[in-house]
């Protein structure tokens, strides 16, 4: 069964090719079926492989499949090969299963849109590229998948390209991630030249063998790779593209900008964690950057009025938690939070989409209200997702993963407690901003027209993901709740044994209290009308500052974009260009002269030919 591993990325690719070539003539029903089935089959295959893996794990808990040789130079070669270990198996499972559910949701959500089959072609291509990214056994191949998901993100954010704002958002997300990718590419080249291989396992072994811990070279390489990861995962300082990327269709936001692609940075760090362990300073930088990100994003989430932007900032903030875990070396905690986050954030986005479907694509939370009784399915799904995002104790998946992260952070050496404090503050803010949305949207009077109804293709993903958001947390629980460690044991062959370090009882108790306090604050502010007033009154400067994501866009516009555009304007009249323009003008002038000789008289042409022959023979004879 495991030898069919190559089919997992190949199936969605096949679907994409079919849809790309025959999509427009296939009709919506068939395109949707092809799109969903190709990912669904990959999901079934992945689950079969996972079951076999759990029963009889292969030797050393890894499986390598070399498909063909890509680049073969003396002393340096790149193979196209797949590498499966618990980390990539987990990623594959999440991508294919969540991806399949989102495809199913999309078949109903996108009904009647122009470019229906184009949408599924892009989505399948994305899934294929993402699977290639996580399965690649070589950094060069990983980079192919990395760029592939970037292109698909661009295509899908700009899916409704007839509106120029969407095109702008697509370009912005593409350019910002491209800046990050340049760093990553530089990192790859550095590793290739220094260690002579890009095969991940050989490269890591080589790095550990060659470089002493804390030396300069691993720090440079790790920070270059990290910059690529930060760009893809929308972390400070390359986070500005994610809120704009919400211009795409909502299933896209769910799949790409919440569940899978934006966690590629986390995956990259976990995959190359041996390199990062050689550079402790980079790990510290990750942790500090993660705290900044999660607080900036959480504050921004507090004041957004667009439901999708709230979710976008919450994604940023939750990935900040994952990076926080990476910063303290708690790899399983990051992966665990990745998994729960993928489930509950996909659920939240899909529910937001489901609400928008019934409300004529309304996304402003202040325009909604009272949907609890009108849309019970959406209400319960969103409530479960929100509870999980806010990490409400025991009932939600997010609680367990966030506890695991915060526990690991608190147990880390200084400045662990400071980071932990910031994490707790973030957890409380998370609860406030997401329950602000819950109360505004689902309580109070009904403000909007509600039309249509949900079909099975919407209900199945919502119910499945809701169930997932309730139960997946029990895979790994703290001591006091049974001390289940299935998850970290499963991952331990790849990332090492994870120990829940003993911390004082205060830590988990605070972790339980913070979200509850947040919900209480949100409810109080909802009851006394603070939220509703904020929508109508002129926003203060602080609000505007927070709403723009702490002014990073303005800063980048002033520091990078404006000088760059000025330079572009300057270079329009480049003197070097002028020289080439002279050549062009000369060519045009000569062309005008030569045109005049085209008079249509054969006799004259023959005379010119003759003159040319006489001149040529003269040159040959007399020169």
């Amino acid at each position: 069964m495991i030898s069919y591993l190559w089919l997992i990325p190949a199936l969605p690719l096949l679907g994409s090719v079919i849809l790309g070539m025959f999509g427009p003539s296939m009709g919506p029903r068939l395109s949707g079926a092809v799109g969903t089935l190709s990912v669904g089959l990959a999901a079934v295959l992945a689950m079969a492989i996972a079951l076999q893996w759990l029963g009889h794990p292969p030797a050393h808990s890894m499986y390598q499949q070399t498909l063909w040789s890509w680049i073969n130079l003396p002393g340096f070669s790149i193979n196209v090969g797949l590498y499966l270990d618990p980390v990539s198996l987990l990623m594959v499972l999440v991508i294919t299963i969540v991806g399949c559910l989102i495809h199913l949701f999309s078949t109903e959500y996108m009904e009647g849109e122009d470019g229906y089959s184009r949408f599924f072609a892009y989505l399948n291509l994305f899934v294929s590229a993402m699977l290639l990214l996580v399965l690649a056994d070589d950094l060069a191949l990983l980079f192919v998948g990395w760029e592939g998901v970037g292109v698909c993100s661009y295509l899908l954010v700009g899916f409704w390209f007839s509106e120029s704002a969407n095109g702008y958002a697509a370009r912005k997300s593409f350019v910002v991630t491209r800046v990050a990718d340049i760093f990553m590419l530089a990192g790859l080249l550095l590793l290739a030249t220094q260690l002579g291989t890009l095969n991940i396992q050989n490269m890591l072994a080589g790095a550990v063998a060659t470089w002493p811990s804390g030396s300069l070279m691993p720090a440079v390489a790790a920070s270059l790779l990290l910059m690529g990861g930060l760009g893809k995962s929308a972390q400070v300082p390359l986070q500005t593209w994610l809120p704009d990327a919400m211009a795409g269709p909502t299933p896209v936001s769910a799949l790409i900008h919440a569940a899978t692609m934006v966690t590629a940075g986390v995956y990259l760090v976990v995959r190359t964690h041996a390199l990062f362990l050689l550079a402790p300073s980079v790990l510290d930088a990750i942790a500090i950057g993660a705290v900044i990100t999660l607080l900036v994003a959480a504050f921004a989430g507090l004041v957004q009025s667009d439901i999708k932007r709230v979710l976008a900032y919450s994604t940023m903030s939750q990935i900040g938690y994952m990076f926080l875990a990476l910063g303290v070396g708690a790899w399983p905690a990051a992966m665990f939070h990745f998994m729960t986050h993928a489930v509950f954030k996909a659920l939240l986005f899909l529910t937001a989409g489901a609400i928008a479907m019934r409300l004529d694509h309304e996304q402003n939370i202040f325009a909604m209200g009272g949907l609890r009784t009108k849309l019970p399915l959406a209400f319960w799904a969103f409530l479960i997702g929100s509870a999980s995002l806010a990490a409400l104790p025991v009932i939600s998946a997010g609680f367990f993963s966030k506890e695991m992260i915060l526990g690991a952070v608190a147990a880390a050496p200084m400045p662990g407690m400071v980071l932990w404090g910031a994490g707790i503050l973030g957890a409380m803010l998370t609860a406030i901003y997401i329950f602000r949305v819950v109360f505004m949207v689902f309580l109070g009077p009904v403000n909007t027209e509600i039309s249509g109804s949900y079909g099975l293709r919407v209900a199945i993903p919502l119910v499945t993901l809701s169930a997932g958001a309730l139960v997946v947390g029990w895979l790994e629980t703290p001591e006091t709740l049974g001390g289940q460690t299935i998850f970290s044991q499963f991952l331990s062959p790849a990332v090492g044994v994870f120990r829940h370090l003993p911390v004082s009882a205060m830590i988990p108790l605070t972790g339980i209290a913070a979200p509850l306090l947040g919900v209480a604050i949100a409810y109080t502010l909802y009851r006394n009308g603070t939220w509703a007033r904020a929508a109508t009154t002129e926003p203060s400067r602080l609000t505007l500052f927070l709403k723009s994501g702490s002014g990073f866009d303005t800063l980048y516009d002033a520091v990078i974009v404006a000088p760059y555009m000025g330079l572009v304007q300057l270079l329009r009249r480049d003197p070097v260009d002028q020289m080439f323009m002279l050549l062009r003008d000369l060519a045009v002038a000569l062309h005008r002269q030569l045109r005049a000789t085209q008079i249509g008289q054969i006799r004259r042409y023959a005379s010119w030919m003759m003159a040319g022959s006489v001149a040529t023979i003269a040159i040959l004879l007399f020169a």
């Binding site: 008079i599 249509g600 054969i602 006799r603 003759m610």
Partner: protein, 102 residues
């Protein structure tokens, strides 16, 4: 026997006469005829070369030149016949629709 330079000179003279006619005459009939003259001159040069080396290749080339002249003349004459419907005076200079129109 004749010095090959003599017959080569004759071929050259004939070729020049044909070229003169081609460049100077406007009537398409004469243009065709001048081309035939030039082909003939080329044939004569082949025969001269064949004589110079005592070799049958010159005559073989003449046969091919004849072949070419026949095919070319057939097409050229049919074109002249067709053109007659448009340009009654068969003036080569007035067939100039392919000129560059400013």
């Amino acid at each position: 026997m004749i010095a090959w330079q003599m017959s080569a000179g004759l071929a050259l003279a004939l070729f020049m006469l044909g070229l003169l006619g081609l460049l100077a005459r406007r009537s398409l009939v004469f243009v065709m005829m001048s081309i035939e003259i030039m082909l003939n001159a080329a044939g004569l040069l082949f025969i001269t070369a064949g004589m110079r080396w005592g070799n049958p290749d010159g005559q073989i080339m003449l046969i091919l030149v004849l072949n070419l002249a026949g095919a070319e003349l057939a097409l050229g004459l049919i074109l002249i016949l067709r053109l007659r419907n448009r340009i009654t005076n068969l003036d080569g200079d007035s067939v100039n629709l392919l000129r560059d129109v400013p």
